[in-house]
């Protein structure tokens, strides 16, 4: 059973966090927390369990290409092409959903500002 759309929030934020380049586990968790506005807080157990799953599903891979803050003790993870593709698909899906929500709310008379708040 491969990962399908819609992505689970954790998977989504993990993939999203890797868009800008490879990260190690701790930095990855920090980025996920930041980008999710504190909604997704990963501790080591769940983080690596999810990484391993996404790795097995070919969405994420360990990378030898290391960024500037290279730390030999750690593994760095990067998006695979499939992962990047899936994230993009999810982004488009979410955009479509957002459009739908906004249109429906406008139809029912709610002002745009309120709807997007």
């Amino acid at each position: 059973m491969a990962t399908q759309l819609p992505l689970k929030p954790v998977d989504f934020h993990l993939l999203l966090a890797l868009v800008d380049g490879p990260l190690h586990g701790y930095a990855l968790a920090g980025r996920m927390r930041e980008e999710s506005e504190g909604q997704v807080q990963m501790m080591p157990g769940n983080l690596y369990a999810v990484i391993r799953r996404l790795d097995r599903e070919g969405l994420v891979t360990e990378t030898g290409a290391r960024p500037a803050d290279n730390d030999q003790r750690r593994r760095y993870f990067a998006l695979t092409d499939t992962g990047r593709q899936l994230l993009a698909d999810e982004g488009r899906r979410m955009a479509r959903m957002a459009t739908t929500v906004r249109r429906r709310l406008l139809d029912s008379g709610v002002h745009d500002n309120e709807a997007t708040q």
Binding site: G25, P44, R74
Partner: protein, 929 residues
């Protein structure tokens, strides 16, 4: 592990333990990275004080969800996926739909509970730590209950092994051993009758072991008859036990069995130990077996067992034989007791000396641990009360949370949630909390267990059997789960008895007016305060008692006094003259040592657990020997002993060097003896007789009473005879040093360091005794050394142990009850913001508000205090056997209880009260936080 690694934190160890539970693949690939992650988190957590604890909780919750998840995913990728995952396959779900669904729901509930706990780490931590205190203390005490009272003894059928004691019919507490001649008679009389299968006898002795090199005094040696090991039914770990064939008539045999400790220590676990010949008291003896440690044979710590045929003529064995009886399976102890009592009556007919004596039986277990049992059970009861307080705290916290979630619950019920679903959800939440509490509790138990073992050293029987092993840990886990179930029910039940409609309308402030009993949390606080006060009362009484015991005058001056026990080898010292000469030589040498001002020796010391007491019946002139029921404590002493001890001479003279074997037999008696036997008149010059009237002693002096068995003892009549006239080979030599060491110590080492000076001084004195002993006869080792301060401390050690233990319990109880009060008051303040804000808006000052809040909280606490005092006074009655100088209604102790409890109650409500006084009335009235 040979490689040295940096010390790991508790969290790291916890994490590593949890890491093992992850699937192998994940662990191997990412284990190191996960540890690195943890290290980062620890750095982060260090910035806040509670951070590390919170991190611990979060890690546990993380593991709780991640481990099952990871296994599920791992199974999905496993090559044999098809076969191994049938459990979750669609067909499985179809056929076992119901179970599968309920498992899914359960998992969902658990996930919800974990998520909730994670989102509210402060609450989770407080609840779990409260519970952990209760569970930790209970598990640690249960390790003692289990180890001492419940763990199998290691001997065969201990229920049918009994200890005989020969004593006056009126005074079962004052028992003595048997004579070899009686044993023969009694054996003929009872064996095979009344369910008594067999008797076995033994004596405690001390032998000198010599095997390649140093002589070593084995103070805990046993001479046994041929039936001993068969009667106790314990198998050796190496070789064989002793049997009838090993016993030689009228003397020791030429074989022995040694303890596991001796084998491992002195003989380095020598695999060829069997048949090895060693010298015991200068006789060659071959080792035929090794007995396991931690089995009472008949008590733990015996180092060597030797066979011995009792010589009926040997006066040294008189009254020293200990006897055990093996009963038939299913035999009744009472029936066997009657058979032995009638044998004792026959003994009395034959020998007028034993008229009025009887023999009674108690089970082996009872004699081994009997006296410790009530105190251990009392401690277990006290610690159970702590758990009760802790559970009440958890219930109170869960209730508070249920109130907050009331609208959620009401909505869910209105939407059709089944009662069972809601109950399950609430129960799972409380079970999660209690499991967490159990986990911390068990960790805490390991610490407390160590502390407890350290404190109880030498005070509890079978301490070697007190371990934190599976049964004990299972108890801890069981208690946590039970606590979770029982106290998780509270919010669940409460959730359904609430006014649904009111909750839906959000009338939260309405609860502020609730009466005491309408709010179960108030009732819980009353219960907590009550229980805490009961414990504080008991602790206060025990501590008062301890202070009282310490102020008792022991009748001697312990400062600067120490010495050594010397048990002369019977084979080397065969005559009274030799023994007397040995001790007089030794004392001469000792007195010549610089720094020693006084020295003497006695057959027994006050408050010395190793002293064996002899109470002898005595008669006054004109009385028949068989008439007397009076006994007096008997000690043989050298000249100078009483002076060294510091016991004040009140009349006449002390024992002197002029008292020789060929002069008139004399005795110095104590004050109590003088009063009991001669009333107000001067006893000096009077005489009394011992040994059934065969030996008359002239009283030459009276000394002050010495408490032989510790400060709580009622002093008994005692008399001292000269060593030259009644010679003993087992004596204790004591010596006093010259210098006023307190002053000297302070001068030399500065103020507050006299402890160090005392230790040094006592060590020097003991070394001086050991040197004098070596110089007198180098083949005769010193058995053991001691200081009188240690003996005095030891005499109240048990009282101190239980006093401190209960004081610790009381402190924890007070702390937990305080936390309970705090929680409820803080919650009430939060709920009553509008009301308080209104009061402030109409002119109430901050101190008015503080007073109001503290007052409300005290009302509840005072009910608890009153109930607690009443119950505490009732409970104090059961403490009476442990109290010596204090009555169970001691006013100063009770006043302290009231003061302490009030202070705790006020302090606990003060913080929320101060918070209440800081409420901004305008924001409160607007309904803002």
């Amino acid at each position: 592990m040979t490689q040295t690694s940096p010390p790991r934190s508790l969290l790291e160890r916890l994490f590593d333990a949890m890491l093992r539970l992850y699937p192998k693949g994940l662990r191997q690939t990412y284990g190191r990275d996960m540890r690195t992650f943890l290290a980062e988190l620890e750095v982060e957590a260090r910035e806040t004080r509670l951070g590390r604890l919170k991190l611990g909780v979060r890690l546990l919750l993380d593991a709780a969800t991640a481990i099952p998840r990871a296994h599920r995913w791992e199974a999905r990728w496993a090559p044999a996926a098809q076969s191994s995952t049938t459990a979750t396959s669609p067909s499985f779900r179809r056929s076992f739909g119901k179970e599968a669904t309920s498992m899914t729901t359960l998992r969902h509930d658990l996930l919800v509970a974990v998520r909730r706990a994670r989102h509210n780490p402060g609450f989770t931590l407080v609840a779990a730590l409260t519970l952990a205190l209760g569970i930790g203390a209970n598990t640690a005490i249960f390790s003692v209950v289990y180890g001492v009272l419940l763990r199998p003894l290691g001997i065969a059928d201990p229920a049918h092994l009994a200890v005989l004691s020969l004593h006056r019919a009126q005074d079962p507490g004052d028992a003595m051993g048997l004579w070899p001649s009686h044993l023969v008679d009694i054996r003929d009389e009872v064996e095979g009758r009344g369910g008594v299968r067999r008797l076995t006898s033994y004596i405690f002795d001390s032998v000198t072991l010599l095997s390649d090199g140093e002589p070593e005094e084995l103070g805990s040696s046993l001479m046994v008859d041929g039936a001993f090991f068969e009667t106790l039914g314990v198998a050796p770990i190496v070789g064989r036990a002793l049997a009838e064939d090993d016993v030689l008539p009228n003397r020791r045999g030429s074989v022995c069995v040694i303890s596991e400790a001796l084998w491992r220590g002195r003989f380095g676990s020598d695999p060829e130990i069997l048949g090895r010949v060693v010298s015991l008291d200068d006789a060659p003896v071959s080792i035929v077996g090794v007995m396991p440690d931690n089995v009472p044979l008949p008590q733990a710590g015996v180092q060597v067992w030797m066979p011995q045929g009792w010589d009926v003529e040997d006066g040294r064995l008189s009254g020293r034989l200990n006897v055990l009886a093996r009963l038939e399976p299913g035999a009744d102890l009472n029936v066997a007791s009657e058979v032995l009592a009638s044998a004792a009556a026959k003994l009395g007919d034959k020998n007028p000396r034993f008229e009025g004596y009887t023999i009674s039986l108690r089970t082996f277990r009872d004699s081994l641990i009997g006296s410790a049992q009530p105190a251990i059970l009392a401690a277990a009861g006290a610690v159970g009360l702590i758990l009760l307080i802790a559970c009440a705290n958890m219930a109170s916290l869960l209730l508070s949370r249920a109130v907050v979630r009331e609208r959620e619950i009401a909505t869910r019920r209105a939407l059709g949630a089944q009662r069972r679903q809601l109950t399950t959800q609430l129960l799972i939440e409380s079970l999660l909390l209690s499991s967490l509490g159990g986990l911390f509790g068990v960790a805490l138990a390991f610490v407390l267990h160590r502390v407890l073992i350290g404190l109880a050293d030498g005070l509890l029987p079978r301490l070697y059997d007190v371990r934190l092993d599976l049964p004990v840990l299972a108890f801890g886990v069981g208690v946590s789960l039970a606590a979770g179930l029982v106290f998780g029910m509270a919010p669940a039940v409460w959730a359904f008895t609430r006014d649904l409609a009111g909750a839906m309308r959000g009338l939260r402030h309405a609860r502020a007016r609730h009466s005491l009993l309408a709010d179960p949390r108030q009732a819980l606080v009353v219960m907590q305060v009550t229980v805490a006060v009961v414990l504080v009362t008991a602790a206060a009484l025990l501590l008062r008692n301890l202070a009282e015991l310490r102020s008792v005058d022991p009748g001697f001056r312990s400062a600067g006094l120490s010495g050594a026990r010397i048990y002369l080898d019977d084979n080397a010292y065969t005559s009274d003259q030799q023994e007397a000469a040995y001790f007089s030589d030794l004392l001469e040498r000792l007195r010549a040592t610089p720094g020693i001002i006084a020295a003497g020796a006695s057959s027994g010391l006050p408050m010395d657990p190793l002293t064996i007491d002899y109470d002898l019946p005595y008669t006054l002139p004109g009385e028949e020997a068989s008439e007397t029921l009076r006994q007096a404590h008997f000690r043989t002493i050298t000249p100078g002993y009483l002076e060294t001890l510091g016991a004040p001479l009140q009349r006449g003279r002390s024992i002197a060097t002029t008292d020789r074997a060929d002069t008139e037999p004399v005795a110095v008696i104590n004050q109590t003896f003088a009063r009991v036997a001669w009333g107000e008149s001067d006893p000096v010059g009077e005489s009394f007789a011992i040994y059934g009237g065969r030996r008359s002693l002239r009283v030459v002096g009276v000394v002050g009473d010495v408490r032989f068995h510790g400060p709580s003892e009622v002093t008994r009549p005692a008399f001292f005879v000269p060593h030259s006239q009644t010679t003993y080979g087992a004596m204790t030599v004591i010596a006093r040093t010259t210098v006023d060491t307190t002053a000297t110590g302070e001068r030399l080492l500065g103020r507050g360091t006299q402890d160090a000076a005392t230790v040094t001084r006592d060590a020097l004195t003991r070394a001086a005794v050991a040197r004098a002993a070596l110089a007198t006869d180098h083949r005769q080792p010193v058995h053991s050394t001691f200081t009188f301060s240690d003996l005095e401390r030891g005499a109240v050690a048990t009282d101190r142990f239980y006093g401190r233990l209960l004081a610790a319990f009381a402190a924890v109880a007070l702390l937990l009850a305080g936390a309970g009060i705090y929680g409820v008051v803080a919650y009430w303040v939060n709920e009553s913001r509008r009301e308080l804000g209104l009061r402030m808006a109409v002119g109430a000052t901050g101190s008015d508000i503080i007073e109001l809040v503290v007052h409300r909280s005290l009302r509840t606490s005072l009910i608890g205090l009153a109930l607690g005092l009443a119950l505490g006074l009732l409970a104090a009655r059961s403490l009476e056997p442990f109290l010596y100088g204090v009555s169970a209604t001691d006013t100063s102790a009770l006043a302290a209880v009231v003061a302490l409890s009030l202070i705790a109650a006020v302090l606990a409500s003060l913080i929320p009260a101060i918070n209440a006084a800081r409420i901004d009335p305008i924001r409160a009235l607007r309904g803002e936080q």
